[in-house]
Amino acid sequence: MIELKNIEKYYANKGVKSYILRHVTTSIKQGEFVSIMGPSGAGKSTLLNILGMLEEPTYGEYHFMGEDVTAMKERQRIELYRNHIGFVFQAYHLIDEMTVAENIEAPLLYKKIPGAERKSRIADILDRFNMVAKKDLFPNQLSGGQQQLVGIARALVAQPSIILADEPTGNLQSAQAEQIMDLFKKLNQEENITILQVTHSEKNAQYGNRILTIEDGVIKEDVTVK
């Protein structure tokens, strides 16, 4: 599903290149649950952002579902991205001015999905996440765990083939974190959604079936979890 070949990312500052990623080559298959680990500043988030097309690599090839992302125009990239990728952030990043239901609806609007279907999909996902009663609340009226649930619901509602999660439990207490991780596992196993998460926690990494360890911008380890 994802093919990375020799991805590099650096910032040139006064002629000195500071590398974030070096020679990253890997591939991720449909249905995998991959955790990216490593110390702070290793380049985990940058890698995730490149995979999520929010950043461009300085060099290298990136194929998403057989298509060359680096060669695409912005319009095509947004199109591909809308249809296949769901993002989950550490700080939830819900839009404060929108209610729960509206936050979930937003990506569907950008995908230009007709009103009736939007309604049924939102109702469906609210139901699944047991949040029907909260659909008209604003994000600041919810707890952190609930906000992150909305964040995941928003990522799922567009029916992506892959979810990219940047430390999804980083701001949560352990009980809530467990709940979120269970949800990811369930999505991965039951709906065959590819999941890619960046995490600091060994425990969370164990939910997945593969761990990529990055240090100083280079992939150090690539192990499969049993």
Partner: protein, 789 residues
């Protein structure tokens, strides 16, 4: 999508109530100011453009040379119209008519002084008045008929049908109402209550029956068949005086009706603008105020970018394209503009009566006019897009990863753009402060300049009906004096605050051949000097028994100077065909423009040609209102058939300042608004800067900076901006105001005071505005800001 964005926009407005209020308020004030100015400009612009063929209609002007200057007037001989109709190419109609003048109309015991015009049928055809009753083809034929306007007919007859009813004109002629026409709109150069036949005018005034090319006494209006004939017709008009009267040097030309009001100034016989210049200033002012309001909007919206950045990031991360973000932000600004427009309407409707009162006109919003709505739509879209464009482009350019990670939005470029915008706003505001100050100085200067007589407590009563009789006037004078209500009484052959008659037909010993000097002339009664409070420079006044003085004249100082008379008293002067003797010299006093030097003037005893006004000085030792009542009663005793037409001289004198006062008041008001809106912009920038520098300030505070230090730090930049704006504004304002002043013969010299005023006011306002925000930041607990870093 639209619906959701719309909802979000509303929620955003509600959430940041203070911000929205500043934003909407600023824009609403800007829009309202702009709308009022535009309504005024539209009103003046549509002057004389209501009749169907207004574009083919022309006013006959004449150029005549006197004092080495060319004077252009729309006064023509009574025989002009016929000559034009018969001999000039392409003329469809040519009409002669009088200018509107006050005439007493009586119906039963209703006595109403009305504005009346004597005109011929062509006049009605040219202006194409809308007839409500009566046959347009048959009016003005019979001498004893009259056409009334709708409102005047209602005043006279109430709800009854006025057709074929009779009215009495000046207690002399019985006239039959032949037609009723719609009221003439207020923005017309010719406004009247009733139209009477030219034949009646001839019947009443014998002297106009004979044609005389030397006597310019009426208005001639011409309508061409097609405008293509204009060049030829105008060329033929040039020599029309010469062709008909030998030695007449006047030249005639056609001035378009549509330019009559706005292009009323002539120099050397050529049109050089007029009221249009003032209109251009107002149009520019309207545009600038709107621009300032838009700039303000941009400043405030981009200042809030920090708050919106996250939303932009998230939206981009869930699949929004930049285009849809731009349209979202534009939608928001259009929504804000819409709310502001509604508010602006309320403001306009509230303030219009005030402005109408101030400008003495009748402005109103014509909601049924399609052009108005189109104009409004254009104005709104323009405002929405101008003010929304920069914020939309700026906000939508954020990179999602950076804003979501909490990176500070790169602000260098946008801050400098905003600085330029704020400087621009303050340049405009400072210019307005300077100009307004100088306009006020000039107005005060001219108002306080001695006019040569004492106008306080001086009252003028128009001579009407039986009062014109010499004996009755003398009786009135003695009665007035005896009552004690007034201390002095005299007569004058014209309104003392208005242009009177003038002539070049004056000669004296020592006059150079070919020298032509234009003299004002006026008839004065006895005690003239004492009553109006001027001075006798030499010689004596006319005797009370003026029968012995019929061949005496008096001069003013300006006349003596122009005539180069060494011994003015006793000088022989040939005036109006007779040799007369100058008996005295009166100090110069102002009858025409206060801005120009006093023109030469010849006085003759008012008994010779009759007086038009009784001038009295109210006894200062008595209660003024009871004195006025006494005066009214005494006048009524002499002439009971007319309502007393009395006015204070200083009030009528004020009319001379109307244009300048209007300019002063408008620039004062709108200058104030511009400054206010600019301050809102500054506040926006201050909010933004404080937000940006929160961390820096906190660190400084941790390191030991006091609130005072921080305030200086924050305010310094803004003072610099305002100072720069002032420096740019000074030369601009100097050029503008110098040009304005140059049109006055008497003018103030430009001092540095207004400039100092501008810089002090603008800096003071800036400091006050910025401090509202910076004090809050300077006093904040540094921990709050540093915690999140």
């Amino acid at each position: 999508m639209f619906k959701l964005n719309f909802k979000i926009a509303l929620r955003n407005l509600w959430k940041n109530k203070g911000f929205s209020l500043i934003n909407i308020g600023g824009l609403a004030i800007g829009l309202a100011s702009c709308m009022i100015l535009l309504i005024y400009v539209a009103y003046e612009w549509s002057y004389d453009k209501q009749s169907t063929n207004h574009d083919k209609t022309y006013i006959v002007y004449q150029n005549s040379v006197a004092n080495g200057k060319t004077f252009s007037w729309a006064w023509t001989p009574n025989v002009m119209a016929n000559e034009v109709q018969e001999k000039i190419t392409g003329v469809k109609y040519a009409s002669h008519s009088t200018y509107p003048s006050g005439k007493l109309i009586t119906v039963g015991d209703k006595k109403i002084s009305s504005k009346a015009i004597f005109a011929d049928l062509n006049f009605v055809k040219i202006f194409n008045y809308k007839f409500i009753k009566g046959n347009p083809q048959q009016v003005l034929k019979d001498a004893n008929t009259i056409i009334l306007t709708k409102s005047f007919a209602e005043k006279l007859f109430g709800n009854e049908d006025p057709i074929n009813k009779t009215i009495k004109l000046e207690n002399q002629d019985i006239l039959k109402v032949s037609a009723v026409i719609d009221d003439v709109p207020a923005n017309n150069s010719i406004i009247f209550d009733c139209l009477m036949p030219w034949a009646l005018f001839e019947k009443r005034e014998a002297w106009i029956r004979e044609g005389n090319w030397g006597n310019n006494m009426c208005l001639t209006v011409v309508q061409l068949k097609e405008n293509a004939f204009f060049a030829k017709a105008n060329a033929e008009m040039l020599g029309i005086y010469k062709r008909n009267q030998k030695g007449n040097t006047a030249e005639a030309f056609l001035h378009p009706l549509t330019k009559w009001h706005l292009y009323g100034d002539f120099e050397n016989g050529k049109s050089v603008g007029g009221k249009i210049d003032q209109l251009r200033i107002f149009l520019l002012l309207a545009f600038c105020i709107l621009l300032i309001a838009c700039v303000n909007f941009m400043n405030l919206s981009t200042a809030r970018s920090e708050g919106r950045a996250k939303e932009v990031g998230v939206r981009k991360a869930i699949g929004s394209s930049r285009k849809s973000l731009i349209s979202q932000f534009l939608l928001e600004s259009v929504l804000l503009t819409f709310i502001s427009t509604v508010l602006a309407f309320i403001l306009v409707e509230i303030s219009l009566p005030y402005f109408n009162n101030l400008l003495n006109i009748k402005l109103e919003i014509d909601y049924s006019n399609i052009n108005f709505w189109i104009g409004l739509l254009i104005l709104m879209t323009f405002t929405g897009f101008i003010s929304g464009s920069y914020p939309a482009l700026y906000l939508s350019s954020f990179e999602p990863i950076k804003v979501l990670k909490g990176f500070r939005v790169k602000t260098d470029s946008s801050v400098s753009v905003r600085k330029v915008l704020v400087v621009g706003q303050f340049v405009f505001a400072a210019c307005l402060i300077i100009c307004t100050a100088i306009i006020y100085q000039q107005l005060n200067y001219v108002k306080n300049k001695p006019i040569g007589y004492n106008k306080s407590n001086l009252v003028q009563i128009a001579v009407q009906g039986k009062m014109a009789d010499q004996v009755k006037l003398a009786l009135l004078k003695s009665k007035l004096l005896k009552s004690g209500a007034v201390s002095d009484v005299t007569f004058f052959s014209q309104d003392i605050t208005e242009h009177g008659n003038n002539t070049t037909d004056v000669s004296w010993q020592g006059k150079n051949a070919g020298e032509s000097i234009l003299f004002n002339n006026g008839g004065i009664g006895s005690d003239f000097i004492k009553t109006i409070g001027t001075e006798l420079v030499a010689g004596r006044e006319f005797l009370t028994n003026s029968a012995n003085d019929t061949n005496s004249v008096m001069l003013n100082e300006a006349a003596v100077k122009m005539m180069r008379l060494e011994n003015p008293v006793g000088a022989k002067i040939r005036f109006w065909g007779n040799e007369r003797v100058n008996v005295g010299v009166i100090k110069d006093f102002v009858v025409e423009s206060v801005y120009q030097k006093v023109a030469p003037m010849i006085f003759f005893p008012s008994s010779t040609w009759g007086a038009a006004a009784v001038i009295v000085r109210i006894n200062p030792n008595q209660n003024i209102s009871s004195s006025l009542e006494t005066v009214d009663e005494l006048v009524k005793e002499i002439e009971p058939n007319y309502p007393v037409n009395r006015k204070f001289v200083d009030e009528s004198f004020e009319v001379k300042f109307q244009d300048e006062k209007l300019l002063g008041t408008l620039s004062n008001w709108f200058g104030g608004f511009a400054i206010f809106i600019s301050c809102l912009g500054l506040l926006g920038l201050a909010l933004f800067m404080a937000e940006q520098r929160k961390k820096e300030i906190s660190i400084r505070k941790v390191l030991g900076a006091s609130t005072g230090n921080i305030l200086t730090l924050l305010n310094k930049d803004f003072i610099k901006l305002v100072a720069i704006a002032n420096i740019i504004a000074f030369p601009v304002a100097y050029i503008i105001i110098n040009q304005w002043l140059s049109t006055f013969e008497y003018r103030v010299s430009i001092s540095f005071l207004p400039f100092a005023l501008a810089i002090v006011i603008s800096i003071l306002i800036a400091i006050l505005t910025v401090s509202i925000q910076s004090i809050k930041v300077a006093k904040a607990n540094p921990i709050d800001a540093l915690k999140y870093e």
